[in-house]
Symmetry: C2
Subunit: 325 residues, 2 copies
Amino acid sequence: MTDILTSLAPLADRINQTLADLIARDSAVVARIGGYSFQGGGKRLRPLVFCLVAAALGLETTPAVMTTGAAFEFLHQASLLHDDIIDLAEVRRGRAAAHLAFGVPETVLAGDYLLAKASRLVAELDNPACLRILARLAGTMALGELAQLGARRQVDIGAAEYFRIIYRKTAVLLEGAAKCAALLAGAGAAAIAAAGRYGRKLGLAFQIADDLLDYQGDEASLGKPVGHDLEEGKITLPFILAREALPPARRERLRRLAGPAAGPLGPEARLEIHALVAEGQGLASARRKAEDLAARAAQALALWPPSPAREQLAGLAGYVTARSC
Amino acid sequence: MTDILTSLAPLADRINQTLADLIARDSAVVARIGGYSFQGGGKRLRPLVFCLVAAALGLETTPAVMTTGAAFEFLHQASLLHDDIIDLAEVRRGRAAAHLAFGVPETVLAGDYLLAKASRLVAELDNPACLRILARLAGTMALGELAQLGARRQVDIGAAEYFRIIYRKTAVLLEGAAKCAALLAGAGAAAIAAAGRYGRKLGLAFQIADDLLDYQGDEASLGKPVGHDLEEGKITLPFILAREALPPARRERLRRLAGPAAGPLGPEARLEIHALVAEGQGLASARRKAEDLAARAAQALALWPPSPAREQLAGLAGYVTARSC
């Protein structure tokens, strides 16, 4: 797994340099909040996918292409800034969330600015198809977050609804980044569709892995409270698959513990939920689902000509899922 | 003044119908928040300007043109939703602000969605120049709001900085709406520039009038506290022009009363600030400035061929300033 990260390091460095250059040109306050947000780390998954799809389909990753790829990272950072306000998150990547460091008003506005910056960078391309993709997916992401808010503590949410939510809040951005790169590379309809399929399945696998981490942290050191998602009432795939697999009485217990009538979750309730999710094989089943999606992401690229970039895209899909193990 | 509103009523009705149709197609939660925000009222100034500029330059206001005009209203509504969170406003147009009625998370996201919706509606045009204008101005608006936050309680702010802030937070959107309409009408460079000049000066006049209303309400019924702007530390044109006109001792008193060292403003301090602003002729001077800008907005259209729409644009400039009287 470190192999793929080593192989991607030179590209990731170029992406980070592009992001730093673009942020440095911003007004002082945006540069401060944006810089804080970016310095927190992150895998730069969206520009990586953009650049690798471009390279795999024969488009040289010139500075202009890197800049367009950066737009997808700016959109992602904008949504992180707003999501942390929404989730009342206090910590992001081991540091105070931006809204606590800079204030809610400044963080709302810095997010708005980064959303507009993403549009502006893509608007400079004069490629209306890419712009339509970007505008649509930004709206879809907001709808996904809204749907997630509406689904809080909905303990009977099905896997289909879960996938609809994570497609909108996460996968649509990777799908859009991959499709835009293919469009700019002048690829044919089949190759563009394959790029979209890769990004979509990668995004779904990535989000499931992320949702698993919220349970896994706990599993690694028993006694720690179950993660933030559950506290916020987010019902994710491990819970859903466990609920479906448990016998009726245990299922009912799980539903009651996490349902809206239960009130704020205490540490005991969280541990019991965690135990029930493990009992119903929720973690293992969700991990299998993520691995299956990652494999299908890599398969989507089978029709492209072989290239180092195509191999790296396949490796990235494997890496994304391995995070949860 | 009611003449111009009567003359614009049929167009305003069509705009409201377009907005209602576009909102009705949205997901339930966005439709609820968006509908609430729109039902609160408003002059639909941005789509009015868009449609009138289009008509004055020979572009028929088809449903597609109305839809593009609506994009500028969606962008405006998005910024209102976020601004109310930023300003901790409790009331908007006589009702609870959206974030109190629906929650901060839902309102942040509904704003994000409307921002993306505005981009999407303009992206459907396949006119890259319009999209670049929209993407740029959305970023500029966020920067203007950030600059305004940074200028809170800056009692020595000059008129030039005030104008830079209100250009970015308010006028740039009207300038962009007018320029996009001229672009879509296929106007020449001079007519496009005139449209931009009209929108910019109209926007500046409009914002000064808005800032005057925050003082005027008080003037109308003495004893009421000075408005919300001052409470938030917003230093607007009446204050700035009064500060410049007052003799040194009175100026110093005004600076101290509103400055960062003064702490939260009590009713007495607010009344005294108000009296000092009146003493320095701040309201009359600011009103003259707004009227001058409105007149220059109308003059910007002098080279266009005469038309009912051109007359309505001139009338709109007059109306916008008259609001403060």
